[in-house]
């Protein structure tokens, strides 16, 4: 039987802890470093960057992050899978190749590039041929917003990652590959799992789901016993120790903080969960009601029993379109009667917006410290004695103009509204373009993943 492989999570999102990848590659033995960069609307941010400069459109801070660890990767033969390529994986690969050459690693590393997820250039062709690309949540056909679409990407699975590894890539840089595919790919490659081994593919998918949010399964953001999680300042990011039979352990490097426990792994399993019996990916459908967890030593949880089924014939695609504008303004009111003052300020502001004739799709008021997260369920607040309340008011409109005007109505309240107000040092809020998410399905035969090799 083949030896287990160790796949370490290095980034759980674009903006995660910059120290984590370095700690993962130096803190103990690993075979793969997996880094997930892409949230639902990240692609549209990258598409915008690319439209301004064709050499951009990927996670730029991936490059210095990699530059720091490239020598260790080369020395220890650790492979990387990362969807940091965004809408421009080739440019991302070129930037990494240049870093590697600067570090004297020419000839010592091979980069694999996965593309084929970008459907934006083919969008009109797809619509003309009858693909309506209806919104999975609302049922609306894409033609309703076609002229405002900024990005369109199919979720690719593990297959092109496996292909890149098979062709000798040490670093696999992808566009919109699923978070789970970045972990499953190395397992398929290492163990030679067949394309229809549904239970094994589901096991690898579950492993990917557990570590895709980084430290969120190793003690971070963990509600159960949170005050007893040791040394979060030094938190160890998770590592999957995977076996060829589909069972795996979740572990972390020795001498790191955090905690790997059944309760913590369970919290991550149910995170962003839909129907647990059908966790759908391009690779398989994983049944989360079959997962068995048990403690297997200090900071070690064994996962087994995962069952899977064939993936559907459709791939999910994510589109991003320009929706409108929003802005959020905040002011802080102090005791006495802090909440009453904040409520009065809200009434005054709303009246002024109405008197100006401004049209908004939505105005939302929250009193932070009172009802922002738990709404009417938070009944135990001592309204009379609360030391301060933050008034947080947001507006949303299809046009920029009313939102822009709203941003000028916050500061005047400081001098011409209720008293005891502070907390406006940040200045006027800025109108923000809303780029919204449009999930849809497409026949998988319409999408052809492409794998290229870039030699360093």
């Amino acid at each position: 039987m083949s030896r287990p492989i160790r796949i370490a999570a290095g980034q759980g999102f674009w903006g995660d802890w910059l120290e984590a990848p370095h700690r993962q590659v130096t803190g103990g033995p690993i075979d793969y470093l997996m880094m997930d960069y892409l949230a639902e609307v990240t692609m549209s941010i990258m598409q915008k960057q690319k439209s301004r400069d064709p050499s951009l459109g990927y996670a730029k801070d991936f490059v210095p992050l990699m530059e720091r660890i490239l020598p260790v990767l080369a020395e220890r033969r650790i492979k990387v899978t990362a969807n940091a390529g965004g809408v421009n994986p080739r440019a991302c690969a070129q930037a990494i190749a240049e870093s590697a050459r600067r570090l004297g690693l020419a000839g010592k590393l091979t980069i694999g590039v996965v593309t084929g997820d970008d459907l934006l250039p083919r969008l009109d062709d797809l619509l003309v041929r009858g693909h309506e690309l209806r919104n999975l949540d609302t049922g609306r056909p894409l033609r309703d917003v076609r002229d405002r679409v900024q990005a369109a990407n199919a979720y690719l699975g593990a297959a092109p990652v496996v292909e890149a590894l098979r062709r000798g890539a040490d670093i696999v840089i992808t566009g919109r590959v699923t978070d789970t595919g970045l972990t499953l790919g190395p397992m398929i490659h290492a163990f030679g799992w067949p394309a229809d081994a549904w239970d094994l593919l589901a096991a690898g998918t579950v492993a990917g789901h557990i570590i895709e949010c980084g430290a969120q399964c190793s003690g971070g953001n963990c509600l159960v016993g949170w005050q007893r999680v040791p040394d979060l300042a030094n938190v160890g990011y998770p590592i999957v120790e995977a076996h060829g039979d589909g069972s795996f352990d979740i572990v972390k490097h020795p001498r790191t903080g955090g905690r790997i426990s059944v309760a913590g792994v369970t919290e991550q399993l149910v995170y962003e969960m839909g129907n647990p019996a059908e966790y759908i990916t391009p690779d398989c459908v994983a049944d989360f009601t079959t997962i068995q967890l048990r403690p297997a030593g200090k900071d070690r949880v064994r996962v087994s029993g995962v069952r899977g089924r064939p993936a559907p014939d459709n791939l999910k695609i994510s589109l991003a379109y320009s929706y409108g504008y929003k802005a959020v303004g905040t002011l802080v009111y102090a005791w006495p009667e802090a909440l009453k003052k904040a409520r009065a300020a809200d009434r005054i502001l709303r009246q002024r917006l109405a008197d100006l004739g401004l049209q908004f799709e939505a105005i939302l008021t929250e009193f932070v410290g009172v009802n922002a997260t738990h709404g009417p369920l938070a009944r135990s607040v001592d309204e009379a004695n609360i030391p301060e309340v933050q008034l947080r008011i947001g507006v949303r409109a299809r046009d920029r103009a009313p939102v822009e005007r709203f941003t000028r109505e916050i500061a005047p309240l400081i001098l011409n509204g209720p008293p005891s107000v502070t907390g406006f040092a940040g200045g006027r809020p800025k109108p923000e373009e809303i780029v919204a998410y449009w999930p849809a399905l497409i026949d998988k035969r319409e999408v052809e993943p492409c794998v290229e090799r870039v030699d360093v």
């Binding site: 309760a263 369970t266 995170y271 962003e272 839909g274 939505a362 997260t373 709404g375 009417p376």
Partner: protein, 111 residues
Amino acid sequence: MKRAAARTVLLVELAHARSGDKGDTANVGLIARKPEYYPLLVRQVTAARVARHFKGMITGPVQRYELPNLHALNFLLHGALDGGGTISLKTDAQGKVFSTALLRMPVRVMR
């Protein structure tokens, strides 16, 4: 025979939870702190009860799924996030702490 008296506790004493988002839907995964608490969660924390609990906070229906293997329930709260994602004006636009709001629910336990 003397009947065991029941008392009311908040769900947070029996369960922990984590939540996330899919568009305008928040999910709350509710996990029994001990396996023996799970049947009580199944009996008392029904989809209908959760819908009543969140009255005024969500605009759509509530779905519940059972994960007996993990001693967990998964709730989908539709219309919970003011449009969700980038559209939402809420502090908790991604539903990250909806989980804790569910843990305020009172449940009946035997003393």
